[in-house]
Amino acid sequence: MARKTFEKIYMAVILVFMYAPIVTMIVLSFNESKSRAKWGGFSMKWYQALFHDSAIMRALWNTLSVALISALIATVIGTVTCVALMGLKSKSRAVIMGITNIPMINADIVTGISLMLLFQVIGFKRGFWTVLISHITFNIPFVMLSVLPRLKQVEPSVYEAAQDLGATKVYAFRKTVLPDIMPGVISGALMAFTMSLDDFIITYFTKGVGFDTLSTKIYASVKKGIQPEIYALSAIIFVTVLLLLFFSDRIPKWANKNKQET
């Protein structure tokens, strides 16, 4: 009995540690007073200020477009590569998986500066495109790690049967293999999307002057002192993450269910 109580207290203490900062930010985002130590009454003014801050809104737009485009491209390249891997000799497969592991194991700061050096040497002006390329690069491995286990479970015989019955390769793939790996593809895409949203270090080194995502914008502004608008931004992001997580949990299940019904 005492043990159970102790376990509950232990979990509660860690939860407080994890959530106290987030709750504090959400509370302060509604604080009328600019002071962080005094409650000046309920107010939505920081939310208004946030939506009128054109620099933050542009950074938000940049963040979302980089995340969306890089997740899409990484998902296509990652999935195609996984399919290709299945037909390769184990040796070349090992080499490709070795390369795939590099950005996962390497420290972000090294990946960031190495890409920065590349863009500098080839004279590629840093901005939206360099950030997009970098995000695609670190996103592909996440997609592959999510798709590959699914693909390994696929029975090739169904695909071959479809072809024997006259389906073209692409059609047979679309109808027999793709539905089976779809949950992996979707969770890989969502993983890539959130990784891109959350990235700071690699973006920081590859963005150049004048282009900002939310992360680099927050870093630059917090270095100068915290603005209450950022609390409002935190609250919005936290709620968005909650929703995203809820859906990322639902979508694979939903895709599975749909597949079974058809």
């Binding site: 232990y10 987030i22 500066i113 270090i201 917090v222």
Partner: protein
């Protein structure tokens, strides 16, 4: 698709090309710049500059703080993983999600939240002085950086530990208890060794980001505490000395490679077991 080598090689070529250009070539450039001087001549001076007092100080401090953070993360997360894995709640998945949820929030915002809490006139001090307790002054000290590291990277430790511990067959634990092992002996002789793989991957996932961070130390350590990450960042972003910055990055890569080898060896061991 599954048989044709030629088609497979063709399908994988865009990826191979992409990763060669954007992973391999950039890494080779770090080596090139790290091992040459401004004139392009070969030199070891950039790498050797790690031995200069201020570089060495920042590396040692980074090693010390990331080591402390990793140990604290482990000490917090292991009991939690045991509790979560042994609880008979049907919604274990939901609970683990609640514990790692903060990980999905932008990490700069999480770190900024601690600035708000720890500041001299911040939330914690306001509460402390309201209760007539002595106030704390840990912002802009190494302690604040450790706190920020633990807070940011704890979910990376919880997840692999939980996965490892929940995979242990309860029958093995029961057998140990039946044969007379005490609670502590069971933990030490059975549970810990059986979760070694999870421990190693958790340690890797906390130690490397903590060792190489510069954002946490900038935000919570003020400008007073410099870690090796801050030094490298300033060479690239402030003084534009890419040779020196690359040289120091090569030193960092030594630690990354050590980590990589350790986790690869443990992976291989786990697979043969």
């Amino acid at each position: 698709m599954f048989n044709s080598r030629k088609a497979s090689a063709g399908l994988s070529s865009p990826y191979v090309a992409w990763m060669t250009i954007f992973i391999i070539v950039p890494l080779l450039m770090v080596f090139y710049f790290g091992l040459t001087d401004a004139g392009g001549a070969f030199t070891f001076a950039n790498v050797a500059s790690i031995a200069s007092p201020e570089h060495l100080k920042s590396l040692l401090l980074a090693l010390e703080l990331s080591f402390i953070s990793t140990v604290i993360c482990f000490l917090i997360a292991y009991p939690l993983a045991l509790i979560l894995a042994h609880s008979r709640i049907s919604s274990q998945g939901l609970i683990i999600t609640i514990f790692i949820l903060p990980m999905w929030m932008n990490f700069l915002l999480r770190t900024m939240a601690w600035m708000t809490l720890l500041e001299g006139t911040g939330v914690i001090n306001t509460i402390l002085s309201f209760l007539h307790l002595p106030t704390q002054h840990i912002i802009n000290t190494p302690a604040a950086i450790v706190l920020g590291m633990v807070y940011n990277f704890l979910p990376f430790m919880i997840l692999p530990l939980y996965n490892a511990v929940s995979r242990i067959d309860p029958a093995v634990i029961e057998a140990a208890r039946d044969l007379g092992a005490g609670r502590f002996q069971t933990l030490w002789k059975i549970t810990l060794p059986l979760s070694a793989g999870g421990i190693i991957s958790g340690v890797t996932m906390v130690f490397i980001p903590a060792l190489t961070t510069f954002a946490i130390s900038t935000l919570l350590g003020g400008s007073k505490v410099l870690l090796i990450g801050n030094v490298i960042e300033s060479y690239f972003m402030l003084s534009y000395d890419v040779h020196l910055g690359s040289g120091l990055s090569l030193v960092l890569m030594v630690f990354i490679i050590i980590n990589m080898v350790v986790s690869a060896v443990s992976d291989a061991k786990e697979q043969t077991d």
